[in-house]
């Protein structure tokens, strides 16, 4: 579904992603791991079109994303729940969800989809009319994921959903991500929390200072002693 080949991304003169290649197949949950500053968020932002690679290609469902404007990328079926949630604090929860559905032409099933999001995250329904800024960190993360889901994406990019959340919340979020996988949503998950991510992922890639250092089945990587030492606390 998604095939990234040899992308090189720069911030001004700084070479942030170096010949990065990876792919995500339909129905998979692929994890992208790495330490702070490795380039994980940059990768997702490049996929969404917020940054352009200097060289390399990104093929998504027969479209070349490097030549597609960011707002079109969303309508092709790629949704991004960004780092730090970035929900619209001044808009209500409902309005946030509606914005997620911005690209949808047919608004007939809109209410059903909203109800489904609420079933995943009941607390959102309770606070429907409140400004999103009033939510806690965990609730905002739920909203961010829900918002991304509203566009009925083929591929969902999740950027560090567990960042800054209490352990209970983290568990809940990963439960939801698993539910999404069970609902046949293809996911590319960026996480610093390598352990949780590898538990639920099919395959994973490890980014280190802009290079893909390792890749493989999640089960293999969990057992890998290097990974254990670097990311899983020995």
């Amino acid at each position: 579904m998604l095939k990234v080949e040899n992308i090189n991304v720069y911030y001004d003169q700084i070479h942030v992603l170096k010949d990065v290649s990876f792919e995500v197949r339909r129905g998979e949950l692929v994890a992208l791991l790495g330490a702070n500053g490795a380039g994980k968020t940059t990768t997702l932002r490049t996929l969404s079109g917020l940054i352009r690679p200097r060289t390399g290609t990104i093929r998504f469902l027969d479209h070349e994303l490097t030549r597609t404007p960011p707002h079109k990328i969303v309508s092709l079926g790629l949704a991004h729940s960004p780092e730090g949630r970035q929900i619209f604090a001044q808009l209500t929860i409902l309005e946030n969800l509606l914005m997620g559905a911005y690209t949808r032409k047919k608004t007939d099933r809109l209410q059903d989809d909203i109800e489904w999001i609420y079933s995943l995250f009941p607390v959102l329904k309770q606070r429907e009319k409140l400004p999103a800024g009033a939510l806690s960190g965990g609730e905002q993360q739920m909203l961010a994921i829900g918002r991304a889901l509203m566009s009925k994406p083929q591929l969902l990019l999740l950027d560090e959903p567990s960042l800054g959340l209490a352990p209970i919340m983290v568990e809940k979020i990963f439960e939801v991500i698993q539910t999404l996988k069970q609902n046949d949503i293809t996911i590319l998950l960026v996480e610093q929390n390598a352990y949780e991510a590898l538990q639920i992922a099919d395959r994973a890639y490890v980014l280190e200072t802009g290079f893909i250092k390792l890749e493989g089945k999640a089960a293999d990587l969990i057992a890998n002693p290097e990974i254990k030492k670097a990311y899983l606390g020995g």
């Binding site: 969404s48 079109g49 917020l50 404007p69 960011p70 707002h71 079109k72 990328i73 969303v74 309508s75 949704a79 991004h80 960004p82 970035q86 929900i87 619209f88 604090a89 001044q90 808009l91 309005e95 509606l98 914005m99 997620g100 911005y102 690209t103 918002r147 991304a148 566009s151």
Partner: protein, 300 residues
């Protein structure tokens, strides 16, 4: 110096009328700044373009007022869009100073184009006779024009509020003003949102221009400059990015100006414009985000 109650009531409506004109214009600034972080200095000149369009269509083409007004609204919206497309769009993402200088240049360009095409002499401008009528309530005489201005402004504000709360593009505008990148991730096309902001803002300014011309009875090529600046100050006082803020800021400024003139001896009234800028500097010192503004964000 004491005035009768009648005088103060009249000045109250005077202030409301002037404030409404500033409010309508201020909204245009805030809509654009909210999304693009750009002060469109040329916005004030739209007041002038609108007034002259109506004056020409009525005076030379002999069109009826409603048609002329509608044409002026469309024309000004087109001008706004053209400015956006030619001067501001190529500079998206460029540093602030660049857009600032361009914005100034566009303003000077329009003013001098007007100077070239039109006579620098002020021209008389009048709305249909019934606008200039006065009405009597009790023993207080009100010029009808102020009431009309207030009514039109209220209706437009109401319509605008509906738009930004209920329509998809309206919510998208609010989202974009808050977080441009996140909005893009929703699939919102920035260009559409910006165009909408310019269209709405320009049309409101067009209305304000016509009302202003009717209120003062004359038009001249530089008539938009100072009111435009004042409207910008109003937007800042209200909190740039907040539509309510812009409206309230406009009212405050309108009232303040009228009060200033009413309370001070006549030979000092020419200094009323100074008060506007002092108010700006004061507000920026005390609460730079304005009365209703959001905490300042440094755009990522």
């Amino acid at each position: 110096m004491t005035y009768s109650a009648e005088y103060w009531i009249q000045q109250f409506f005077n202030g409301l009328g002037l404030g409404s004109i500033y409010a309508l214009t201020a909204i245009g600034y805030t809509l654009v700044y909210g999304i693009l972080r750009l002060i469109n200095f040329a916005h004030g000149d739209l007041l002038m373009i609108s007034a002259y369009t109506v004056a020409s269509l009525v005076g030379f083409a002999l069109l009826p007022y409603p048609v002329a007004v509608a044409a002026a609204l469309v024309f000004v919206a087109l001008i706004g869009l053209t400015i956006e497309r030619l001067a501001y769009r190529p500079l998206r993402g460029k540093p602030e100073e660049t857009t600032l200088v361009t914005s100034l240049a566009v303003s000077i360009l329009i003013q001098n184009l007007a100077l070239m095409i039109l006579s620098p002499q002020p021209r008389a401008f009048s709305l249909p006779a019934f606008f200039n009528a006065t009405t009597q309530i009790g023993n207080v005489t009100f010029p009808l024009i102020n009431i009309i201005i207030i009514l039109i402004t209220v209706v437009l504000l109401f319509a605008l509020t509906l738009m930004i709360k209920k329509t998809k593009i309206g919510i998208a505008m609010r989202a974009s003003a808050e977080n441009l990148q996140a909005a893009t991730l929703m699939g919102i096309n920035l260009n559409s949102v910006v165009r909408t902001a310019f269209i709405v803002g320009s049309m409101l300014a067009a209305v304000a221009g016509i009302l202003m011309a009717g209120r003062y009875g004359r038009i001249e090529p530089f008539m938009g400059f100072v009111p435009g600046l004042k409207a910008f100050v109003a937007a800042v006082i209200g909190g740039i990015g907040s539509i309510y803020g812009a409206a309230i800021g406009g009212l405050i400024l309108g009232f303040g100006e009228i009060l200033f003139v009413a309370m001070l001896p006549p030979d000092l009234s020419a200094f009323k414009d100074i008060f506007v800028f002092l108010a700006l500097i004061l507000m920026l010192l005390i609460k730079p985000t304005g009365l209703f503004g959001r905490p300042a964000d440094r755009r990522v």
